[in-house]
């Protein structure tokens, strides 16, 4: 609870001080999604303040969408940012160098080779036992996972990948600039699936929660599928927008 700071000498009301302390702790990443907050009683006792002030602080934080109460369990941080994008601009996540601006952070949790993924093998038309590089990234916004990305790059198209891979490079520019492939188009297919236990763990969700599953096939100027990407977005925090016109 050391992230809460109360200065009784200030004229600022105590409930506002508590609310802004919690907000600051969330913004700095000290408090993360699903972290449990102390009870009202615990804060009252620690700071010798009235329960009304704590109640008001928590109510403000609930109104601001920073925390939520779960009956019988306690009060939890629920500050996850909604990722909202135009459906047609979905590809931006792999183009924009936003990582450098600190909007998103990318954490590579696995870098390896595989020949065992049936869907990737079929989509990439790989022969039996043909190797494919597999990169698993978790993209975060303010410490909260907003995307789990599994990238399959066939070895035959990405020779010396491990040597040429640059940290923090965006995928599409990397493919085009490092390997001189000309991306002709990208096929993205969107569907909803229930989270597996492992995906839920990485996305800090509950197993069986709804996920947006977006499969991308990157196609070069020779109409060859040169890369296959599986994107998993937490359903609750992801919105795709599209405007459709009448005939």
């Amino acid at each position: 609870m050391d992230y809460i700071y109360v200065n009784k000498l200030l004229t600022t009301s105590i409930y506002k001080q508590i609310a802004s302390s919690v907000t600051d702790a969330i913004d700095s990443g000290l408090l993360k999604y699903n972290d449990k907050l102390p009870t009202e009683k615990e804060i009252c006792q620690a700071f010798s303040i009235s329960q009304t002030a704590v109640k008001m602080a928590y109510e403000k934080l609930i109104t601001d969408g920073k925390i939520k109460r779960i009956k019988g369990k306690g009060t939890y941080i629920t500050n996850r940012t909604n990722f909202r994008t135009d459906l047609h601009s979905f590809y931006e996540i792999n183009v924009v160098e936003s990582f450098h601006n600190g909007i998103y952070t990318k954490q590579t949790i696995l870098l390896g080779k595989t020949s065992k993924d049936y869907s990737a093998n079929r989509e990439l038309k790989l022969k039996n036992s043909e190797l494919c590089y597999l990169v698993i990234n978790v993209i975060k916004s303010k410490q909260n996972p907003m995307l789990l990305q599994k990238i399959y790059l066939p070895k035959r198209y990405f020779i010396d990948f491990e040597k040429r891979l640059k940290k923090d490079s965006s995928l599409y520019p990397f493919i085009e600039e490092e390997y001189n492939y000309e991306i002709k188009h990208i096929h993205s297919t969107f569907s909803a699936i229930n989270a597996s236990a492992s995906d839920a763990l990485l996305l800090r969700m509950n197993p069986d929660d709804a996920l947006y599953f977006v499969r991308e096939k990157i196609i070069d100027k020779n109409d060859t599928v040169i890369a296959y990407i599986c994107n998993y977005f937490p359903g609750e925090f992801t919105e795709f927008e599209v405007i459709v016109h009448a005939i």
Binding site: H88, E97, S98, D117, Y118, I186, S191, A192, H245
Partner: protein
């Protein structure tokens, strides 16, 4: 047609991956890449086990998982068939009636009216929906299930303001395609529809209507429909099972166009 899965599935007996997972992932990949399409009948788990020379407990487990994930389902003949299908770009390119989109999938469409009534909404709800607040806070609420070949595909709830569609609660039967009806009876033509989609778990009520299990992942779309004067005429929420599908063709020009939109600071 029953496919001979043996020709398409190879069991790697040296692999550390369990046989049931190998069978499951193989069939799933064949469905996703459209080798097997909607309604394709598959060999029974016992026949497949014989063909692959593995114990039937593996194929039974694989089919059970595929059924749970809604890739396959037993048809009326008791044969496992592909239940996964994809609604195409047709839904997103134009503001067309769902009814017509189902026809484009080669299915016979029908509409079942689950509920219709007049509701009086509070000011806050009306504003949240995006409507202007008038003296008349009554809306015509309709909840309808769209079916293709009698299979539930989409459930759609609409709120239509009575200050625009006066008397619709008495005239609208419930199974008419909505856009065409509004045009024909009220001379109100839909122009633009703004849709925001997210993946959600179905509650028990919606799951029952869509013939799915509770909590199954579904795509929810919140729709604001405007007429040619930019007036909000319809607020709707739809839910559909996960095979709701969008295929985006992103060209290089679009990517370059996006890059050029970035400000100099964003580019660094």
């Amino acid at each position: 047609m029953l496919y001979n899965l043996q020709e398409l599935i190879t069991i790697d007996r040296r692999s550390t991956v369990h046989y049931d997972l190998q069978v499951k992932e193989s069939i799933k990949s064949l469905i996703l890449d459209k080798t097997f399409y909607y309604k394709t009948e598959l060999s029974s788990p016992d026949d497949l086990a014989d063909q692959l020379k593995v114990a039937n407990k593996f194929t039974i487990a694989a089919y059970k998982d595929l059924e749970f994930e809604r890739y396959i389902k037993k048809n009326k003949k008791g044969i496992f068939a592909v239940s996964y299908f994809e609604l195409t770009n047709y839904f997103f390119d134009r503001n067309t009636a769902i009814y017509d989109a189902i026809i484009s999938l080669g299915m016979t469409p029908s509409i079942e009216c689950v509920e219709k009534k007049v509701v009086k909404l509070d000011e806050k709800t009306i504003m949240e929906m995006g409507f202007k607040v008038t003296k008349n806070r009554k809306f015509f609420y309709i909840n309808r299930l769209y079916l293709g070949d009698m299979k539930p595909i989409i459930i759609l709830e609409n709120y239509l303001p009575l200050y625009i569609f006066s008397g619709i609660d008495e005239k609208f039967v419930g199974d008419e395609p909505l856009n065409a009806y509004l045009d024909e009876i009220y001379n109100v033509k839909t122009s633009i529809s703004n849709r925001v989609m997210k993946a959600v778990n179905l509650n028990s009520e919606l799951a029952a209507l869509l013939n799915e299990r509770k909590n199954v992942a579904s795509i929810q779309s919140t729709n604001h429909v405007y007429d040619k004067d930019g007036r909000l005429i319809d607020y709707g929420i739809s839910h559909t099972i996960s095979s709701y599908y969008f295929q985006a063709l992103i060209t290089k020009d679009e990517m370059n166009s996006y890059r050029s939109k970035l400000s100099p600071t964003e580019k660094t």
